[in-house]
Symmetry: C2
Subunit: 362 residues, 2 copies
């Protein structure tokens, strides 16, 4: 049944007995048309099942109505949700999404940007390893393609839909201090390729310092380590003095608890664990995960709104960071043993940190 014959506006015009110009005017409701020809054209289009070719339109208008979206990986639910949000918002404005992923490889970031610009996208929404160092991103912007970042802290001249990772991490430090912790660690995955991870560590350090705690120990793990409870347990056992660990994301925080259990450590009595992202599953666990809740879908939508404004020729203000919420769970508690020399500086008046009202910041 494959009739490869595409129907074009010429076919419609022919059947309606008019010129393509008239057909175009009718179908686009542009320009003046007689009721008579209007009816005939619309009838013909319907009969033929005509649909405009976006390619032809793009060529003539030099607008593809397509936006390029680049993220590290859709296998990470946080990015997937953001893309979903962006895609929906763009769809409402008539734009489609061309997607690409880099798997955290800067070279693939570059290649993806080349392909997307070759496809003549009208705009770009990107999360990449190093936006500020990307000559491809610079070239795209220089050639007039508006671009906005997602997840990244705002860069020079670049708008970004983001949360204030450092501020969120400082809040985590405060909650740790309130619970009585002094010796903490930061468990990081992809530290070198994720500025989010780095920003969270920086903020956590700042917070710990400001609260008189020891500087947090940075514990970097590979994907393989993170996936293996045994390997993670080995890594963890190399840092016996820690009473609380802030993981750079929720999945890692959950894996960490598994590893802790293998070492015979109880959570939170022997080790407190705090995550980041606020994935849905975290609240359904037997021991609900203490974490920082964010809204990736909203981030995607905001990125899309910013880009749409730019596509309309506006110059939107840099947006305020999106809100995050500290979600008290059951994995952060007081350390089992208080050491007298620590107590004075860090003891909080609250005995039940997990029942504190959640902290909200915009």
């Amino acid at each position: 049944m494959a009739r490869g014959t595409k129907i074009t506006i010429r076919d419609v015009a022919a059947r309606a007995g008019c010129s393509v110009a008239t057909a175009s005017r009718v179908l686009n409701r542009s320009g003046a048309t007689s009721a008579d020809s209007r009816a005939r054209v619309e009838r013909a289009a319907a009969d033929l099942g005509f649909a405009f070719s976006a390619i032809g339109r793009a060529l003539q208008s030099s607008r593809s109505m397509t936006v390029g979206v680049l993220v590290p990986s859709l296998a990470n639910p946080v990015f997937a949700e953001a893309v979903q949000g962006a895609q929906e918002q763009l769809r409402d404005a008539g734009y489609q999404c061309l997607i690409a992923s880099s798997t955290y490889d800067p070279e693939r970031d570059a290649e993806a940007l080349r392909v997307l610009t070759a496809k003549q996208v009208d705009g770009l929404i990107v999360t990449m390893v190093a936006p500020e160092d990307s000559s491809e991103l610079g070239a795209a912007r220089a050639s007039g393609i508006p671009a906005v970042l997602m997840f990244h802290d705002p860069r020079a001249g670049l708008l970004s839909a983001h949360v204030d990772n450092a501020a969120a991490a400082r809040e985590v430090a405060r909650r740790c201090a309130d619970a009585g912790h002094r010796n903490t660690g930061f468990l990081a995955l992809r530290f070198s390729t994720s500025d989010r991870s780095r920003a969270r560590f920086t903020g956590f350090m700042q917070g710990c310092a400001a609260l008189g705690m020891a500087a947090p120990v940075l514990v970097e793990v590979s994907e393989d380590e993170a996936a293996s409870p045994a390997a993670l347990a080995r890594t963890l056992s190399a840092h016996p003095g820690l009473t609380a660990i802030f993981a750079s994301n929720d999945v890692l925080a959950i894996a960490l608890q598994r590893a802790a259990r293998e070492l015979g450590l109880r959570v939170p009595q022997d080790l407190s664990v705090i995550g980041f992202d606020g994935i849905e599953i975290g609240r359904h666990l037997d021991r609900p995960l203490t974490t920082v809740e964010t809204d990736p879908e909203a981030m995607g939508r905001q990125a899309a709104r910013l880009l749409l404004a730019m596509l309309r020729g506006e110059m939107p203000e840099p947006p305020a960071p999106l809100p995050f919420t500290f979600r008290p769970g059951a994995t952060l508690g007081a350390p089992a043993e208080d050491r007298d020399d620590d107590r004075a500086a860090t003891r909080s008046p609250s005995a039940h940190p997990d029942q504190n009202p959640s902290f909200k910041r915009t």
Copy 2:
């Protein structure tokens, strides 16, 4: 710095002092060219930073090198991973992905298909509410656009990358029987819009019947119910006799355990829980989730491979279903009490009941 002036092959030709035809031949390595002009053209292209316009190419070749991918939602990690797999495989073959999502709305399925075909995609990979009833999908295929399904059981004339949901569900029934369960339930989300959910229930019914167990109780829940432990607990308490519940996906299975806990039920002593999908987090839980493990990313890759074959003009064989693995966890165990009086009552020698499922496809 926005010089909106796109550099075209004419600019390259002008700078190289030759015709566009020669420039095209050099840049595409098609046709014969002199070493001299080759050098000049390549130099000019490099100097200008020339890149082909995919739009111009698409118009002239009527091939967009773009594939349309339609899924219910990228917020569901299962679909997101599949898209990631498909996207990577297609990228290796030089294709990009235009994505669309329906949020399980058939009307949006239709609209997405219209848009994608208007954008002249060379092929389609789709997961939708009702592929067999979609006139848009039929129209696309009739007009020569190859399409493959993802997640769906194979339909008449349509290839699909899928797992055998019914067989997997029968395996779950067998494991339940082995553990000594007789009164089971199937907890379903989006039963009416997901044929995966329906296939799993059907298979579970078949398995239960074949093993002499009571017919599983179908418990449908809304998104809101699934998200609220309290609501889920209420629904659950309406079915006190069940000793094991098979949830239509892992997230639901985890939420279910939370609800069970609210009712004072211990898992698995008082209630066994089995999930579906095999999400990574499930194995890191304190009580690792018993589930059926699948590989959505592999499914996406297979769908892409099938489509690529069709785009090469081949007519690939219907693929074998992708493998699934029953992953024993700690949430399926023997029921605490055996009730002798139930056994005789529910044993049915007849195979008839399970062949007339109580739900109807729409």
